[in-house]
């Protein structure tokens, strides 16, 4: 059975190892400061206590006030799971650091989020529309797209 790690404890550990990286804990997820995302990701992937080597799912949600990018991590070695979130409040050009070089699973999923939600992933090697065509106006999964 996959053990869903207790967010509070992981957040406490993260604040010890990487001070200032955690914004808040909202069950079942930990909200990470956007600019520290890569550090946290590398820590969670490399640390033998966690070894989150598998990025199961990456998606984004539009809450009108802010965009939230959601990462579902799984550790195939320990059979743990964890949910990370980052938020960006800019609606014109929301930017989140890319995690493609940490988990390549993010490659197509980040392109999809960029396509449908309009979130720019800083550092993605080939960021262009995945599902829609070039020249399509708008990002359909945003709540203000009608």
């Amino acid at each position: 059975m996959t053990v869903s790690l207790d967010c509070e404890q992981v957040a406490k550990r993260l604040s010890q190892e990487l001070p200032g990286s955690v914004v808040t804990v909202e069950k079942p997820a930990i909200v990470i400061r956007t600019e520290r995302l890569r550090e946290v990701a590398e820590f969670l992937r490399g640390n033998p206590d966690f070894e989150f080597n598998y990025l199961a799912n990456l998606t984004a949600v539009d809450y009108l006030d802010y965009f939230e990018v959601v990462y579902h991590l799984v550790s195939l070695t320990h059979n743990y799971s964890l949910v990370l979130k980052v938020r960006c409040y800019d609606r014109v050009k929301p930017t989140v650091p890319s995690v493609v070089d940490i988990w390549r699973a993010a490659d197509f999923q980040e392109r999809e989020v960029y396509d449908l939600m309009g979130i720019v992933f800083d550092g993605h090697p080939n960021l262009k529309r995945l599902l829609l065509w070039e020249g399509f106006v708008g990002h359909p999964l945003r709540k203000d797209y009608l």
């Binding site: 996959t2 079942p28 199961a56 579902h72 059979n79 390549r104 197509f108 999923q109 995945l130 599902l131």
Partner: protein, 367 residues
């Protein structure tokens, strides 16, 4: 004297016999050898995630049918499990068993098509497909008995299943379980030691274990690379912990292993169905759920082991009758990340084989 060669860009698809739908690849060739590949998708992007935001939870079930149209039952299953997980809805025993029976029959059917069309890509034009189609039609008949449809079933409901099985279903299913292992033996006799198949697939398109994990591969693609990861075992959902079955694992991660894993999984699925039929209890098939269904505000990620890999549903609810956001994690889109790694250095004919061995379904990739 050395001859100067020039790279050649070849466009494969979107209408092409071996792309299993409307997939397109932009391949850069050096002579016959692939040096680069860029998948171009979106030719079947129907905006299911956006449509789901304006439909009630029950109305979304038919949309999930059309995701991976070779495994509609499994898609239904994954979606209703996610909704039930968020709503805390308990499902009657009989419905749980019926769902498992349908999901495992669907896995057999999907793998039959995967293996059949994989051999089609190898050049065995239509002959293996006709063998596989014979059994697939039997499964179609079984599904038609329970829900009246051949392809898009819309069978599962939040809280159970839509209707009970008719009287003639169980005898037909038992006959199918009895004869299916024999048919799988027949395929293996035809194929597994076939010289042409061995030469074309052994050692071709190897996906190393570490890469497979890093790119987030799942399903037979991941297991062929030697990772024993099956969500039915690793994170048992529904009642999978009650059944006795094994998870076949490959060793090298080449095309042959992916083929072999699928054949073995069919055997295991037959075993699960046989056990489920034996244990099938009588009783209710669906709990009463207040319509239109409202879920408590919150979010949930539910995943199931679909025939092609991990099918996930990320559901955000704001307490209204429609989901605030529904994201579908398509297994084959993420498996496709591996395609470029696997094909570089192989010839164009092997590209088709390697692509076939991933077993994609465009309805699910593009959504």
């Amino acid at each position: 004297m050395t001859l100067k060669t020039e790279p050649f860009i070849l466009n494969v698809g979107p209408q092409h016999p071996s792309t299993h739908g409307v997939f397109r690849m932009r391949v850069t060739l050096d002579g016959e050898v692939v040096v680069d590949l860029e998948p171009v998708i979106g030719y079947l992007h129907r905006g299911i995630e956006k449509l789901a935001e304006s439909r009630t939870y029950t109305q979304i079930i038919p949309l999930t049918d059309r995701l991976d149209y070779l495994a509609s039952m499994t898609n239904n299953f994954g979606y209703v499990l996610a909704v039930e997980k968020l709503g805390g809805i308990k499902v009657p025993e009989r419905a749980e068993y019926l769902r498992i029976i349908m999901a495992e029959l669907m896995r057999i059917s999907s793998h039959l098509m995967a293996v059949g069309f994989f051999l089609n890509d190898l050049g065995a034009m239509m002959t293996p497909v006709l063998y596989m189609w014979r059994e697939r039609e039997k499964i179609m008949d079984l599904f038609e008995m329970v829900c009246g449809q051949r392809l898009t079933y819309n069978y599962m409901r939040v809280g159970g299943v839509s209707q009970d099985i008719p009287d003639e279903f169980l005898p037909a299913l038992k006959r199918f379980i009895d004869e299916m292992p024999r048919f799988i033996d027949e395929y293996e006799q035809l194929l597994s030691q076939n010289e042409i198949l061995l030469v074309r697939t052994k050692g071709v398109g190897v996906l190393p274990r570490e890469t497979a994990i890093n790119i987030g591969a799942s399903g037979p693609v991941l297991r062929a690379s030697g990772v024993k990861w099956d969500i039915r075992k690793a994170d048992p959902y529904s009642i999978y912990d009650r059944f006795d079955f094994e998870v076949p694992v490959g060793s090298t991660g080449d095309c042959y292993d992916r083929y072999w894993v699928r054949i073995q999984e069919m055997r295991q699925s037959v075993r699960i169905v046989a056990q489920a039929v034996k244990q099938l209890p009588a009783g209710e098939i669906c709990v009463k759920v207040k319509q239109p269904l409202r879920l408590p505000a919150g979010e949930v990620y539910g995943h199931v082991e679909a025939p092609k890999g991990e099918l996930g549903f990320y559901l955000v609810s704001d307490g209204s009758i429609a989901p605030y956001r529904l994201h579908i994690r398509p297994p084959t889109l993420i498996n496709l990340t591996a395609l470029r790694d696997m094909v570089i250095g192989w010839k164009i004919a092997d590209l088709i084989v390697i692509f076939g061995s991933i077993d994609v379904c465009l309805g699910e990739i593009d959504r």
